[in-house]
Amino acid sequence: MKRKIGLLLGCYLLMACQKQNDALTVVSLGGIHAKTQKETFYKPFMKQTQTSIVADSYNGGMAKIRSMIETQQIDWDVVQVETANLIRGCSEGLFEPLDTNLISNKNDFIKGNFSECGIGFFSWSIIFAYNKDKLPREPKTWKDFWNIKDFPGNRGLQKIPMIALEAALLADDVKPEDVYTLLKTPEGVDRAFKKLDEIKPYIRWWEKGSQPLPMLLTGDVVMTTTFNGRGVIAQQEGKPVGLVWNDSFYDVDNFAIIKGSRHKKLAEDFIAFAVSSAPQKAFSEYSHYGFVNEQVIPLINPILLKELPNNPDVMRHAHKINANFWVEQGEPLERRFNIWASQ
């Protein structure tokens, strides 16, 4: 009896171990990203290199990666991470330092695309969208976003201090280049929160990228911040959505290699492939998010280019999110923001 159980357990363990294979595991944030990446990165890469990729997804939190490294059960190779988490994870040893020699044409990439442990592979903007049917005229600036009197109705904001504080200062007549210097001072933080107080009763918070546009279209809010791709796609579907690109905030999402990955070489090849111009072009066409490799500009359809964060007219009035600021000084702001929001 006992021996049988032992045998059974042994077989089971053997089966569990056999799951480890030679495929590269690439982990995205799921949903629309997973689909886009499968079509534009994985399939062509597999065809080109005759290797296989296993796609997985996670919620973007570092918890799973940390426990993988703590238990030395590293099942993932390449992960999609946002910049603040990339910097944080890099300084805590969760990712392999990245060899920047992988990329020969570094000057062709947009600002802030490389960091110690990762490379940006697409860019996104936080813009604000409004419901054309519900507003008397077009809002144009963050000041209009704060103007409840002329644009009555609720506002949608992401439930994190990032962008909320920056936008509040812009609405309070702060020059864009002064935003982060001001946020490093207690007075600047107070000023941002005071400005947020003005619209607090009208704020409806969203947490996932899929939430703001339905909120806008059902009339729960008349204006909301949103990721640019969702906004553009809603417009193309003929929904009454207007987009305000002025003073938008942009950043990249990065690919990083998990510390101790079993396929490091293959992972590096994959990342280098993903940021080369052909997959970059395909990614933007498919998802309406921005590319990072500016060699794509002459290749891409000019009509599409107009709707991407890479549009030169947009870029002139766009601001890079200061991820370093949020990594270093974000925690006390986050604490205060949470208390403020829950009162």
Binding site: M1, N59, G61, M62, A63, R66, R88, G89, C90, S91, E92, G93, L94, F95, P97, K159, P186, D190, F193, K194, D197, R204, W205, T218, G219, D220, K259, V327, E328, Q329, E331, P332, E334, R335, R336, N338, I339, W340, A341, S342, Q343
Partner: protein
């Protein structure tokens, strides 16, 4: 003589068969025990231990701590300590764990996180002689003896930091006394929010449990009075939501309650309201959905108990002259205490740990403790605090069930 021997043989045989049976029963429960230990007790203990272990400093700054051993504690340490610090930081950077040092010191005061990261940026790559002035130039905080005291204080392998923080207290690094953690909000100091969250969690669970009793008790009574055939059919209706995923039910309420949802539409159609009411995000929506989801957990144990109570008791009491209501409350209700106790306990404990429903239907002011455990685990990566909050939740549940069992036991005796 012969009889005694026979008896002894019989006893032996009995013992033997008893041993065999006991052995067999032990073997049979073994898989469950092993399963529980491997997949429940060990991981749980591992996570909860994270609320007191404190490896960041003593693991990553060993040379510094050694050099600090002879430090007087009042003045800025001398160059050898800074030399050791530079070595440790270089080593930590090479191993990729420097962020952990900054994170841990940052929990004591946010300025130390920035101090570590600027020092790392400006640290000379190779050892130099006068490292002290270089490091102090990178961040003047290193000149302050308090900084070094803090490092010494957080260098133990165990800490009470996270447990204290889960109750909004911390040890002041100057005086060593317990002080409340406050946060500056618009020129006033506001207490930290963990106790508030705990009380909110208890209050919301209390409201939900009360309404579940108010709705569930009559429902269960009515069900138990129905003829068997109809009762079974009705019971299926109670059970039906059970077979639907929690997420689906919550989303269902989301659709019904939103400002252009069915409920607002009907209220407007009948002219009860002119403007849509915003039920969600808000406390009201959370209550409605959670009461609906948790109702079966009180109806089923109550129904099971009520089914077994004979109606003759009630009739006897009434025939002896008791008012029906009086008879019901003194004869019938006490007999249902067992089911009520089980149901209330089940609903309350489940409500305390709820995550999905408040997260989807509630605003920031309606989130319960689980939301913050998730927040610290996944978003902030502060596992120590997440573990401390989990411990708070577990201890709370254990204490509550203990108190409850005491109270209900006494009642039954009377």
């Amino acid at each position: 003589m012969e009889q005694i021997i026979k008896q002894q043989i019989l006893k032996k045989g009995l013992k033997k068969s008893g041993r065999k049976k006991r052995w067999l029963s032990r073997v049979l429960v073994m898989p469950v025990v092993i399963f529980l230990i491997v997949f429940f007790v060990v991981p749980l203990a591992d996570i909860l231990c994270k609320s007191i272990i404190n490896p960041e400093i003593h693991r990553n700054l060993p040379q510094t701590l050694q050099a600090l051993a002879t430090w007087d504690g009042k003045t800025t340490p001398d160059n050898t300590v800074f030399m050791a610090l530079a070595n440790d930081l270089r080593e930590a950077r090479k191993k990729g764990v420097a962020g952990a040092i900054g994170r841990r010191l940052g929990y004591e005061d946010d300025k130390y996180r920035i101090m570590i990261s600027t020092t790392l940026r400006k640290l000379p790559r190779k050892p130099v002689d006068d490292i002290k002035s270089k490091i102090v130039a990178a961040s003047p905080l290193w000149q302050d003896p308090t900084t070094w005291q803090v490092i010494k204080q957080v260098s133990g392998s165990l800490t009470t930091h996270y447990l204290l923080q889960s109750f909004d207290y911390k040890t002041d690094y100057n005086t060593g006394k317990l002080v409340p953690i406050t946060i500056k909000m618009h020129n006033e100091q506001v207490a930290n929010y963990h106790i508030k969250i705990l009380l909110r969690t208890l209050w919301m669970s209390f409201i939900i449990t009360s309404f579940c009793v108010l709705i569930g008790y009559p429902l269960a009574y009515w069900l138990s009075c129905q003829p068997t055939k109809r009762a079974n059919l009705l019971l299926i209706l109670v059970l039906l939501p059970f077979w639907t995923s929690l997420l689906v039910r919550t989303t269902g309420w989301y659709i019904l309650l939103q400002s252009n949802g069915l409920i607002n539409y009907l209220l407007q159609l009948f002219g009860i309201i002119s403007q849509p009411i915003s039920f969600i995000p808000g406390r009201f929506g959370v209550y409605i959905a959670m009461i609906h989801i948790l109702l079966p957990f009180i109806v089923l144990p109550l129904y099971a108990v009520m089914k077994g109570i004979s109606t003759t008791h009630l009739r006897a009491a009434i025939s002896l002259g008791a008012h029906p209501l009086y008879a019901f409350s003194t004869v019938y209700v006490p007999q249902t205490y067992a089911g009520l106790r089980a149901g209330v306990l089940l609903v309350f404990i489940m409500a305390i740990g709820y995550y999905v429903t408040p997260a989807l239907l509630g605003g920031p002011a309606d989130q319960m403790i689980s939301y913050f455990i998730n927040y610290y685990t996944n978003e902030i990566n502060n596992w120590g605090l997440a573990a401390a909050l989990s411990l708070q939740l577990i201890v709370l549940v254990v204490i509550l069930s203990w108190i409850y069992s005491k109270i209900s036991y006494r009642k039954r005796k009377v």
